[in-house]
């Protein structure tokens, strides 16, 4: 069963045993499998359902299209991070693969650590790539570790040794505590490294608002508004003077 915050991975691989191995390893790591495809056509079917967060693509698959074609489709349409998986490290294949701009590369044979690392690197690459595309001008130099892994409407954070994803709309508020950020969900709290201002940049601006030096809240999560605080569920969050006007204008409560 797919838990809510599991990252759902599509495996495209036409060799059954490799596919089965990947499935086993990924499941053990607490990832969910959104689908296993042996051809590009099957893969597209899975992708069309929109329940895939990440894709592992074998380059050499039988059928009309190969993994590189699939990568182009993902880049154009589905916009999720993906990595290539291949047994051939030859120059021509690598060259073609590079042109498809994968977020990572996994070479057969692989072990658990390889898979784990490849996924992590891919997520970081993906986040960076999206940031530079959308906010090139505003992003100043940052500590590498502080890049936040935001994929579409979710943020990926490390939970034990695998990543989990938090849907943006599940976030109630974020609290900054020194170098860490507490991300508060309905009944869970995640701790990630980073600065509030960087994190804020990655959030949809019409859904979140900073109300304090140390707090960002989801506009949808506000239950009540006091004179110098807002209440999200049971938590009272302070609103400081310089952010008050902004909040009011956003909530149209002038």
């Amino acid at each position: 069963m797919t838990e809510k915050n599991q990252i759902r991975i599509l495996i495209v691989e036409d060799e059954y045993i490799t596919m089965e191995t990947l499935t086993t390893v990924l499941t053990e790591m607490n990832y969910a499998i959104s689908g296993d495809a042996m051809s590009a056509a099957e893969a597209i079917e899975v992708l069309e359902k929109g329940e895939t967060d990440f894709a592992i693509l074998d380059i050499n698959i039988k059928g009309e299209h190969d993994g590189i074609w699939l990568a182009q489709q993902i880049k154009e349409k589905y916009k999720i991070p993906f990595i290539f998986l291949t047994a051939f490290g030859d120059k021509a294949t690598v060259q073609r693969a590079i042109e498809a701009e994968p977020h990572g590369y996994l070479v057969k044979p692989f072990n658990k650590t390889d898979i784990f690392t490849a996924i992590e690197v891919a997520l970081i690459n993906y986040a960076k790539q999206n940031k530079t595309v959308s906010k090139e001008s505003t992003s100043s130099k940052k500590d590498e570790d502080d890049s936040h892994l935001i994929v579409k409407d979710s943020i990926f954070i490390k939970d034990d040794y695998a990543y989990v994803k938090l849907k943006m709309n599940e976030i109630l508020f974020i609290k900054s505590d020194k170098n860490y950020l507490e991300i508060h969900l309905e009944n869970k709290r995640h701790l990630v490294r980073g600065k509030l201002s960087d994190f804020f940049e990655n959030l949809p601006q019409d859904e979140f608002i900073q109300v304090h030096r140390s707090y960002i809240i989801s506009l949808n999560a506000i239950d009540s508004i006091g004179s110098n605080f807002v209440k999200v569920k049971t938590t009272e969050i302070p609103v400081s003077g310089n952010y008050k006007d902004d909040l009011k204008s956003k909530l149209r409560i002038f």
Binding site: Y16, I17, M19, K62
Partner: protein
């Protein structure tokens, strides 16, 4: 410039070497050949006619005699159709046509052999391509000649026979290459080939070829205008030819004639050197031989060369006399290189004699003829190319008509020529001279580019061939290593299993081992087989099943296993998963199908059921599947593997009980 316009003197040597090209099995004289033929009748007679006409150097005998015989052979074959014999007769006709200077018809005939669809013996194809090669190169179709020679080379190399014909052909190839290089004016390369031939002929004590090659080497140096070297080689050839003649049991005039040919060649070299007095007696002897043998080509060559000697000695009227004599021999023939050469020489002599008016007139003629002969040659070339590229006959006939028109034009020009005004001639002369210079220049450039290209291709082919062999060896090596490594893994599993007493654990290890084994067998079969691409599946399954039987031998005594794959072979991509499936199924049958039974039967059947679609039926006469059998819910890795691998093969699997368990797996071969 003279060089280009002069008749191709090297022809002398082509005859000399050509004679052995087609075998020495038959005696040279026409009458003795006729005698041979007339001693036979029926099929034997026709075969003899075909063989004699194709094998004999018809240039040395009165070839016209054989026209009727060839006709007779054709008619006989019409009544007694025999496509193989027909091709041999055609080869005879080709030889006849070449002797008759009907090059275009000869090429057509050769193409009808190639297009006959009848497989040619190595001997016949060597003859066919040799003829074609000669014809192409004398038509200056160098790239076609090259291509043909390359095919010839392949045919000869591939025929590993020790038959003297093939042994000789292998050596002749060097001479063939040299002759093409010579024509293309690539002298260095011609020399290289000839030296190779000399080395080999010397090792094999093949005096005939060694002498021939030295003569050709001399001619190459004549072309290079290095007469001293040329003379050196001609004498070497003469010595060797002497030894050769002594080794013969019976000497024919044609063999003796070669001495005279050498004398003629040496004479030409002396002329080049300015040693005219030395040249004259040699050329006289050469001329005599030509007269005796009734060989006008030889006579003309000799007369022309003699006239050069006398021009050198400033005895112009004597020189002119020789040219007139040659002109008499040329009379009645159509425009030829020889005729043009004759006029060319006359122009020089007339000028020296102070008869400038006549000289200019003749020069005008030379130019006209040169044009028309170029036209004729071009037509011939076009027609030949049409054969090469298989255009229809109509085009060819039109082409031949054009030749007639061109010839007719040349004749009328001849009459008009004398009436032309001097000034026009002078203007024309300069224009034509420029054109000629350009032509020579262009031709050299073109031939050079051609040789370079051909050499490149040749080199590349060699590299490719070598790398293909290497590829095969490496692939075998790799399959061998893969097999070894897989066996190693299997061995490790065995050792690991031995560490435990737990029966279940041991069983798991054994299963792993047998799965690895099923793959290692594939690689074993691959490096043992000739074809590195495919697996003979019958063989493979037999081995695979034998291993499983051995593994279960303690539990089941007599289990018959019947395998029939209908002779199918599959590639590695398909064989590995299919082998694993069979491995799982048979293991399952052994484990569950025959519990508490000693005997039973298992059969594996693979059939093609459609385009690239196959069906495999694995059935046993055991207990059958349990009623609640559901592979979807089965935790067994074996069944999961079967299911997943079937999917990988683009197929499906199903099962039913009927006298035991039956599994049907359908799969496809995909073209990736």
């Amino acid at each position: 410039m003279n060089k280009i316009l002069l008749p191709y003197f090297g022809a002398v040597l082509l005859i000399a070497l050509g004679s052995y090209c087609y075998g020495q099995d038959y005696i040279h004289k026409a009458d003795s050949l006729e005698l041979l033929i007339n001693n036979e009748s029926g099929r034997k007679r026709i075969e003899l006619i075909a063989n004699i006409t194709r094998n004999t150097n018809l240039l040395e005998v009165d070839h016209k005699v054989f026209g009727a015989y060839i006709q007779e052979a054709y008619e006989w074959e019409k009544k007694n159709p025999n496509p193989k014999l027909l091709n041999t007769i055609r080869l005879g006709e080709v030889n006849y046509l070449i002797a008759d200077s009907e090059d275009v018809a000869a090429v057509e005939c050769l193409h009808s052999i190639l297009n006959s669809g009848v497989p040619l013996s190595s001997k016949d194809s060597i003859s066919t391509y040799s003829f074609l090669r000669n014809l192409y190169s004398s038509a200056h179709l160098y790239s076609e000649a090259w291509e043909t020679l390359r095919i010839l080379d392949q045919v000869i190399i591939n025929s590993r026979s020790n038959d003297p014909f093939f042994v000789d052909s292998r050596k002749n190839i060097f001479n063939d290459f040299a002759m093409i290089y010579l024509q293309m004016e690539e002298y260095d390369k011609a020399i290289e080939q000839l030296k190779k031939l000399i080395r080999i002929a010397h090792q094999e004590n093949d005096l005939l070829r060694e002498a021939g090659a030295y003569n050709n080497l001399g001619i190459t140096f004549l072309k290079l205008e290095e007469p001293d070297s040329a003379i050196f080689y001609f004498y070497k050839s003469e010595d060797l030819w002497g030894e050769y003649i002594q080794s013969l049991t019976e000497v024919f005039t044609a063999d003796e004639a070669f001495f005279s040919i050498l004398k003629g060649n040496i004479g030409e070299a002396h002329n080049q050197n300015g040693a005219y007095r030395k040249a004259i007696p040699l050329l006289q002897e050469y001329l005599e031989r030509g007269r005796e043998d009734n060989n006008p080509g030889m006579e003309i060559n000799a007369l022309h060369e003699l006239s050069k000697s006398y021009v050198g000695l400033k005895e112009y009227s004597k020189a002119y006399g020789f040219l007139e004599e040659a002109a008499l021999l040329l009379e009645g023939n159509s425009v030829s290189d020889d005729l043009i050469g004759n006029y060319q020489l006359k122009v020089d002599v007339l000028e020296k004699l102070g008869r400038s008016g006549e000289a200019l007139k003749l020069f005008r003629l030379v130019v006209t003829y040169q044009d028309s002969i170029n036209d004729l040659e071009n037509r011939d070339r076009v027609i030949m190319l049409e054969f090469v590229y298989g255009l229809d006959k109509k085009n060819i006939e039109i082409g031949q008509q054009k030749v007639l028109v061109a010839e007719a034009r040349a004749d009328t020009e001849k009459e008009k020529g004398s009436r032309r005004v001097l000034i026009i001639s002078v203007v024309m002369m300069s224009v034509i001279l420029t054109l000629l210079v350009l032509y020579v220049f262009q031709k050299r450039k073109r031939t050079k580019a051609l040789t370079e290209k051909s050499e490149q291709i040749e080199k590349q082919n060699e590299i490719i061939e070598a790398s293909l062999v290497e590829k095969d060896i490496l692939l075998k090596e790799i399959h061998h290593r893969v097999k070894n490594n897989l066996q190693l893994i299997s061995g490790i599993l065995e050792l690991q299993a031995a560490q435990f007493d737990d029966k279940d654990l041991k069983a798991v290890m054994e299963e792993g081992q047998s799965r690895v084994r099923s793959m290692s067998l594939i690689h074993e079969q691959l490096y043992q087989s000739k074809n590195l691409g495919v697996i003979d599946f019958q063989k493979y399954l037999e081995k695979l099943v034998k291993d499983i039987v051995v593994a279960f031998k303690d539990q089941h005594g007599k289990l018959d296993i019947d395998i029939n794959v209908n002779g199918l072979s599959f590639d590695v991509n398909l064989s590995v998963p299919l082998g694993l499936i069979v491995n799982e199924m048979i293991t399952n049958a052994f484990k569950h199908g025959f519990v508490n039974r000693q005997d039973g039967k298992i059969s594996i059947l693979i059939e093609e059921i459609g385009d690239n679609k196959y069906e495999m039926l694995i059935s046993d006469n055991g207990h059958g599947l349990p009623g609640d059998f559901d592979p979807e819910k089965s935790a067994s890795l074996g069944l999961r593997l079967v299911k997943g691998l079937s999917r990988q093969l683009g197929g499906d699997y199903s099962f039913y009980n009927q006298n035991g368990a039956n599994f049907v797996i359908q799969f496809k071969t995909t073209n990736i």
